[in-house]
């Protein structure tokens, strides 16, 4: 029950896009059609579900103050937490590389449709952000961390598919010239964000 709550919470209430603006760059750049944004959303969800638990293990068994005790009692006061940024980004970059190679080998059609977006995920703030939030909230087990990663990814997917659907319709609307394109997308994202805030009142 607890984990279901966390899942729902990370999709709707702590939505990566609407509450923290993470991954906005690719969100704005790739949301022109529903099809491509769906592909990117799935890739992001997949990478988040993998990187958050891996970084959770790194954090708890290597980086946290005193985390190295399992290796030797004398390491009890070693604090490597200043290395977390560089280790997290290294994990993200290598997982993305790995995913890219696996997808290319086993599903060339998916690989072709994702194209350039796969390598770009390495520098998507949502991925690193997921790991940093995991570090801040100190979850109690790998399972919880995985659920958090999955939920954040699904929330991101929901947001990008939603805005892509709106932008497809928007192509036919009469928008003031200076707002065309990026301006109106910002405003609509803002309005969607306000709509998502209505989930805030839900007690989970």
């Amino acid at each position: 029950m607890e984990s279901l709550n966390l899942f729902i919470k990370s999709i709707f209430i702590d939505n990566m896009i609407f509450a923290y603006f993470l991954g906005m760059c690719s969100y704005l750049a790739v949301s022109k059609t529903v099809k491509t944004s769906m592909g990117l959303g799935i890739a992001v969800t997949f990478v988040l579900t993998l990187t958050v638990p891996i970084n959770y293990l790194l954090e708890n068994y290597i980086l946290k103050p005193g985390a190295l005790v399992w290796l030797n009692e004398s390491f009890a006061d070693v604090d490597l937490s200043f290395l977390s940024l560089i280790l997290f980004i290294a994990v993200v970059a290598s997982i993305v590389q790995l995913v890219e190679m696996v997808v290319e080998k086993y599903s060339p059609s998916l690989y072709a449709s994702l194209g350039i977006f796969l390598p770009l995920i390495a520098v998507n703030c949502a991925i690193l952000g997921g790991s940093l939030f995991m570090q801040q909230r100190s979850f109690d087990s790998v399972g919880t961390a995985t659920i958090f990663g999955l939920g954040s990814g699904v929330g991101w997917l929901l947001a990008i598919v939603g805005i892509a659907a709106i932008r497809e319709k928007l192509a036919y609307s009469n928008v003031p010239a200076p707002l065309k394109g990026i301006g109106i997308t910002f405003i609509i994202t803002g309005l969607m964000g306000i709509a998502f805030m209505s989930f805030l009142g839900i007690k989970l």
């Binding site: 290395l83 980004i89 803002g190």
Partner: protein, 204 residues
Amino acid sequence: MKNKEILLGPLSKNNPVIVQVLGICSALAVTSKLEPSFVMAISVIAVVALANVIISLLRNTIPNSIRIIVQLVVVAALVIIVDQVLKAFAYDVSKQLSVFVGLIITNCIVMGRLEAFALSHGPWESFLDGVGNGVGYGLILIIVGFFRELLGSGTLFGFQVIPQIFYDWGYQNNGLMILPPMALIVVACIIWVHRSYNKDLQEK
């Protein structure tokens, strides 16, 4: 003359946030108050300028196939320095910025400038380009932070600027401005004003 263009171009005509649409995540998330926006702007200027110089010095020795990971390592090292300095000298602001200092690593402005400029130009030009882009980014952050803090809390840098007598007459702070979605709408308004003056930037 050319150096002047490199330095001043990103302030308006080629602004990283409102024209190139890069680095939106942090631009929106930290701007609910003026002080964190200011600190964030300075951090990003430092990171972009230094990363540009370092990559520009290394540009002839980096093999093309691993350049992304080299860039990530350089940027991550710089961000760790900034993070530790902030924790030591401005702990409160560092707490408010939370994960967003770490997210400078994946700030698209940094990677974008490294890829587009530092890899093909000398150190001094790259330094100017980094400073210019950092300042262009900081400018938007400060404008957004100014309006959100003024309208949302009636303060600037934490000092009360809207006189008490206004409140006695029934003036209310607009609580909506503090909430995340309004950052998007404020940026959209900046884009709107900017593009009405620069007609050549309008889309379609």
